[in-house]
Symmetry: C2
Subunit: 346 residues, 2 copies
DNA sequence: GTTAGCACTCTCTTATGGAGAGTGCTAACG
DNA sequence: CGTTAGCACTCTCCATAAGAGAGTGCTAAC
């Protein structure tokens, strides 16, 4: 069944009011906030329909309605509308963002911090990653007679290192010579090509080439570095200031812990990001949608930045399902642009 | 005034009982837990003295005592006694720790995770840092005609990178030649020495040498990479499961946020660690002692690892003042040893 | 110095009774 | 037939009260 125009207007009002007040929205509040020229009784009839359709729910008989995850989704897909950032805000952000930083790492952190601060929620940013990774340079540093540190620099600037052991002592000069040799031989090759080339090298170099191939491969698949900021900001949200109606203190604690664990376990974030559709626009995940990862209480507004297939990363905002989706989308989109510019400059 | 032997025994019992139960300890509980051959009335007399001396306090007239920060400090300094880890636990840890990891980063993370898991609290580990940092290798990668990525590898394996711009186009071959030249010229030098040498180089190379010196200097002062784990474990502690007696929900929220912000702001951690006395044994900070950083509710058990003045880092455990100090000290000490071995192997 | 006894105090839990908010229903209206 | 006014009903929230429980502080005896 499809909603009438007025019902949509009411749903929109409920979502936006609840998002800004964090309290259940009653029929009277809808009338005053929506500007509709109808009585609260009429609204009540429509709200009853919204409830059977599953877009809103009430916690107790006399306590206004709040949106369900389905309600948020309807809002996001059909009612939200565009919201360009105010130009003044865009200027402020651009200015903050282009402060004297020169390291990519600092930029990534800054991007996360800016988004977190402006949304009062957690922000995620991953480092940009190239689709095809090729070797740039090899360096070997002797640490002990039988051990050395193998350093591999990839073409996108990623640096990987690994310890290696020898059956017999090697000195630094030998190692440097080998490294130079490997650098020139293998420069510009991808992991699989290095592996192939390894078979035609002398024994000692072959072992190293295998390790290098392994490292380059790891660089390809690598859990890209993830930055997040704003956990403290998110905790200030009313969702964490006390148990919700019907919720025990323990459940509040669990809810919070789910987010903390999610952020701690980088792979969970990676899994989420990997599951994104390729469409390059901003993507919204509400209540972790079907995936019952224990993140039902959180929503994600996620975007990509960078150059398709060349060097791209993800960024996004995470917070309680009660979130300013419109602002979040606008902000993510804007930061994507800024970050894309940055990557292109690199 | 100095405490009698029995009073110390009572204080010890109160601390240990409170640490394990998280509930105020009454006189009767002290009698049964301590094994003292006196009545509860006698204990009450002594406890009254402990209270005027400031080692314990009670929240309400009829609610047992809990240790004050001073009480914890007394316990830690005089009553705690040694607690070697059980050999079985040590073996387990050693085994966990020496699983197939080859990257330093992974080891640091693992160390933090192990400590956090075993203490149900937050664990901190910093990367090892050399006191004197010297240049190992320079690499320059052209990204655009007018821009390049400068990569500097230090002798301890640290890698730093920075973007640089040129007034006129440079191709990769030129840049590689310059990098090779700089590598051989500056290898093994410290930041100040590179700066001095820069003045005698031709113009173009001088600018780069200055940048390199700058990077090496940054490597020296650098906020060393900080790893933490176990925030989710700490949140499970009863301290965060509900407001304490007399505490509002907001205060609980604030308390938690203080820790989150502390961990987020790496520099706060660095400041704390920098303030440690040089003594190489484990150091305990209770309720942030005099420093009123808003961390009055937390204690730190901190240790160092690595080789004095050569390559050393910090590790430690952070949690509510109600903490198993003895176990924490033993664990930190043991992990220090393991990490020191690791650094020596590097 | 130690102990038994006991009144006292304070919290925590449970019960009770409005006040307030918002609904759902019914009947009337255009 | 959609819309509206009116009103009883339900449920939460808050303050108050009473009783149980725990632990103390004091006093007097050992």
């Amino acid at each position: 069944m499809t909603l009438s125009e007025r019902q949509e207007h009411i749903l929109k009002t409920i979502v936006e009011t609840y998002v800004s007040t964090a309290r259940p929205v009653g029929s009277h509040a809808v009338v005053t906030a929506s500007g509709l020229q109808v009585s609260s009784a009429t609204v009540r009839n429509d709200v009853a329909i919204l409830e059977v359709e599953g877009y809103v729910r009430q916690f107790h008989t006399s306590g206004g309605r709040i949106p369900t995850n389905a309600g948020y989704r309807y809002y996001v897909e059909r009612l939200m509308g565009p919201n360009p950032l105010s130009t003044s805000e865009a200027v402020t952000i651009r200015h903050q963002f282009h402060q004297a930083h020169t390291e990519l790492q600092e930029w990534l952190k800054l991007a996360a911090t800016i988004m977190a601060y402006r949304m009062h929620n957690v922000a995620l940013v991953t480092a940009p990653k190239s689709a095809e990774v090729r070797l740039r340079h090899v360096e070997i540093i002797s640490t002990q007679p039988l051990m050395a540190l193998l350093i591999v620099v990839l073409q996108d600037g990623t640096v990987l290192q690994e310890m290696m052991a020898f059956p017999e002592p090697r000195n630094q000069e030998d190692l440097s010579a080998i490294a130079d040799r490997l650098s020139t031989d293998l420069r510009g090759l991808a992991a699989s090509e290095i592996e192939a080339r390894a078979t035609v090298l002398p024994d000692s170099a072959a072992a190293m080439a295998a390790m290098i191939s392994h490292l380059v491969k790891r660089g390809t698949e690598q859990h890209t570095q993830l930055y997040h900021a704003g956990l403290a900001d998110m905790i200030r949200q009313p969702e964490f200031l006390g148990p919700r109606p019907g919720e025990s203190m323990t459940m509040l604690n669990d809810r919070l812990r789910q987010m903390v664990e999610f952020l701690q376990q980088g792979f969970a974030v990676q899994r989420l990001l990997a599951g994104l559709p390729q469409a390059s626009d901003v993507h919204i995940v509400i209540g972790s949608d079907m995936g019952s990862d224990g993140l039902q209480d959180y929503s994600f507004v996620l975007g990509r930045y960078g150059l398709e297939d060349e060097s791209s990363g993800y960024l996004g905002i995470v917070g309680p399902t009660r979130m300013e989706y419109r602002r979040a989308v606008a902000l993510v989109r804007y930061m994507s642009e800024l970050m894309t510019d940055l990557v292109q400059a690199y």
